[in-house]
């Protein structure tokens, strides 16, 4: 049996709206993954440190504050520099449609908007893992 995927769920920046982050953290956990939820008010440095120290495979970012372009760019860049392996970065939250290609360009593999079933997100993560 392969060891369970390790997933960090993080809320970057000053936004406290954590309903989505908590839902997805529970869903990952119920799907048998090992979940580290950082809580709110996380800086880029704090998130990257958690991913590295926890040897995480996946980073889920939840952003509803409009600061997604900034954090996608900064966090993906820092991960490329500091993580020992490839980390899958996915994002959820409120994003204006024209911004979605931009965060993907920064290195976010997929954006899951409001109303996405948690199973869709879990399937996406598993598929990525199987292809690894």
């Amino acid at each position: 049996m392969s060891k369970p995927l390790r997933v960090v769920v993080a809320k970057p920046g000053l936004d406290g709206h954590d309903r989505g982050a908590k839902i997805i953290a529970r869903a990952f956990r119920d799907a048998g993954m090992e979940v580290i939820y950082t809580g709110i008010f996380q800086t880029t440095e704090m998130i990257v440190r958690t991913v590295v120290e926890e040897d995480a495979d996946v980073l889920g970012l939840s952003i509803l504050s409009g600061a997604h372009l900034h954090f996608a760019e900064e966090i993906c860049k820092a991960l490329r520099e500091q993580a020992a392996k490839e980390v899958l970065v996915v994002m959820g939250g409120i994003l204006p449609p024209p911004d979605i290609p931009k965060v993907k360009e920064s290195g976010v593999a997929e954006v899951f908007g409001p109303g996405t079933p948690t199973t869709t997100i879990i399937d996406f993560v598993r598929k990525w893992h199987a292809a690894q």
């Binding site: 920046g13 309903r19 839902i23 504050s65 600061a67 204006p96 109303g115």
Partner: protein, 562 residues
């Protein structure tokens, strides 16, 4: 009720039991119900029919009564919307103060009757725009305010003696209340003409929205400082709007929304009483803010139950004597969380029905959401439809022409009473556990909300709850039916340069001395507000004032509950 009068009150038709065993049973044999059980969105059972027997236990004079009289079940005013329509109050806030002022003028030009402001995250959390962690978030989800100069620009050309303004801010609310007072006085608005509301409900930040700075106990003390201060200096201003909205949006059900909101309001009033203030000095200016969700009748009953329960809590639990202390005046907003990113035009229909529930429930003011809010800050075109929805309800549908039209409905009265009972039991549970602060610090409330949120998500994914366009009647995503909302990319620089200019030009000695006075007041258990207002006049920033209190109270780290 004695037997004779009960018989007189009951309809001439057979009783419910007889109907059930004959007519209903016969029908069910031929055509069973489409699901085994029906429940409200909060999980309370819904019977197939409500009739006189279901309201027998309700005492009409003492529990329903008349509008404008205790227990206010039927409304806080005797005339309700026949004399004064509800206030159309759309929240707005983005970019710099000039940007939001422009949106205010757009809304007023289209018939909005009250203003409401969202602040950006740095302002909400007491950081200035040039703080390192503030920069990516300046003006993104609300307006950036650093100094009183920003509030002056925000309120420019708005007649503050005519238009009431609401500020959605909590952890740093005491600073914005002070700034608003200073600007009103500059406009020569007399003290008793300053109207408006500040949300200033810090307790629900720890349980739901998470924009807090200080630990709960000193944060509640700051709230009581503002209540005491405003009662003296601006007697018609509402220094607090206790908010169920965020609790509901965080995933609670209607019962939890009612209970945790009223328990929070009760906490503020009793803390003021502990300070030696009379309940009647502060309670009349306590206002409320509710989320109006998808279960039409449950939401109407929630507002009716909230009025009745609050009236009783103030009169009988706290001992308030002034009827104004017993009235639950409320703003309502349609449920942002019910909006879908899928088929966004459907959000117009959702919002209209929720708005109708708020009106039939007797709200004093209303925000209707825009169809594009699952994506962005509302575009002008989308927000105009939201305003027009309220105008249609007011002017075309005749729903505002009679007071509490659903009063006396067997179902509505029965559900109102049930919600009141459920909420009261949960409030008592919180009080028995040591109160709101204790129940926040040990995560009790956060866990309740997280569990309800997870239950609802599970129901959606198992298709026992439906959201049209999302888990049923799904279509491939099409072109989005609204214009994109964009922010000026240069707004951060504009804001920082204004704030830094003020930092250089102000009178430094007065500024430093005012900040010292805040610190002394905070350490000495003196009301902090007079010193805060002095610092505001000395052009101290939101961040500087909040930092002084960070030094005194420390910062809160919440337990992780999910």
């Amino acid at each position: 009720m004695d037997k004779a009068s009960k018989a007189a009150a009951a309809p001439a038709s057979p009783d419910q039991e007889t109907w059930k065993n004959s007519t209903l049973a016969g029908s069910l044999k031929k055509m069973p119900t489409r699901q085994e059980q029906f429940t409200t969105l909060s999980g309370l059972p819904i019977k197939e029919l409500y009739s006189a027997e279901d309201v027998e236990h309700i005492d009409v004079p003492s529990q329903i009564g008349f509008p404008g009289e205790y227990p206010y079940t039927r409304g806080v005013h005797p005339t309700m919307y026949r004399a004064r329509p509800w206030t159309i109050r759309q929240v707005a806030g983005f970019g710099t103060a000039e940007d939001t002022n422009g949106r205010y003028k757009y809304l007023l030009a289209h018939g909005e009757t009250g203003l409401s402001t969202d602040f950006d995250l740095p302002t909400l959390l007491g950081y200035d725009s040039d703080h390192r962690i503030a920069v990516p978030e300046i003006g993104k989800i609300g307006v950036a305010v650093d100094t009183v100069d920003d509030v002056r620009l925000l309120m420019k050309d708005i007649p503050l003696d005519e238009v009431s303004t609401s500020y959605t801010i909590n952890a740093s609310a005491f600073v914005l209340i002070g700034m608003y007072e200073v600007v009103c006085k500059e406009q020569n608005v007399p003290d008793n003409k300053i109207t408006g509301t500040c949300q200033n409900d810090i307790l629900k930040e720890y349980t739901a929205q998470n924009e807090y700075i200080y630990p709960p106990a000193p944060a509640v003390r700051l709230v009581v400082d503002t209540m005491e201060y405003a009662a003296k200096t601006m007697p018609r201003y509402n220094p607090i709007s206790v908010s169920g909205y965020h609790i509901r949006e965080a995933g609670s059900n209607a019962v939890q929304e009612l209970a945790f909101t009223l328990a929070g309001a009760h906490c503020y009033v009793t803390e003021a009483v502990k300070r030696g203030l009379s309940a009647d000095f502060v309670a009349p200016r306590v206002s409320f803010f509710w989320d109006i969700h998808n279960d039409f009748f449950e939401e109407i009953c929630k507002l009716r139950a909230a009025r009745r329960l609050w009236g009783r809590m103030m009169r009988d639990w706290v001992g308030a004597k002034d009827p104004r202390s017993w009235t639950m005046r409320a703003h309502s907003q349609t449920a942002g969380v019910s909006l879908t990113a899928q088929q966004p035009d459907n959000n117009i229909a959702r919002t209209a029905v929720q708005a109708l529930a708020a009106i039939l429930g007797g709200t004093q003011s209303l925000h209707t959401n825009s169809k594009d809010e699952a994506f962005q800050i509302p575009s002008e075109g989308a927000i105009k439809i939201a305003v027009r929805t309220q105008q249609i309800l007011m002017l075309e549908n005749r729903v505002a022409d009679v007071v509490d039209p659903l009063g006396g409905s067997y179902y509505v009265e029965s559900l109102t009473t049930r919600l009141e009972e459920e909420a009261e039991a949960l409030i008592k549970q919180v009080l028995d556990r040591g109160g709101m602060v204790q129940s926040i610090e040990d995560g009790f409330i956060q866990r309740q909300i997280a569990d309800a949120s997870a239950d609802y998500q599970r129901a959606l994914e198992r298709h026992t709850e439906y959201i049209v366009g999302m888990n049923i009647h799904v279509e491939p995503a099409g072109e989005l039916p609204f214009e994109a909302f964009t922010l000026d990319p240069g707004l951060g620089e504009r804001q920082i340069s204004r704030t830094q200019g003020i930092r250089r030009s102000r009178v430094q000695a007065e500024h430093a001395s005012a900040l010292k006075e805040i610190e002394a007041a905070a350490r000495g258990n003196i009301n902090t507000m007079p010193a805060v207002v002095r610092a505001i006049k000395a052009q101290a920033t939101v961040g500087e004032i909040c930092d002084v209190l960070r030094g005194v109270f420390g910062e809160y780290r919440a337990p992780l509950v999910y």
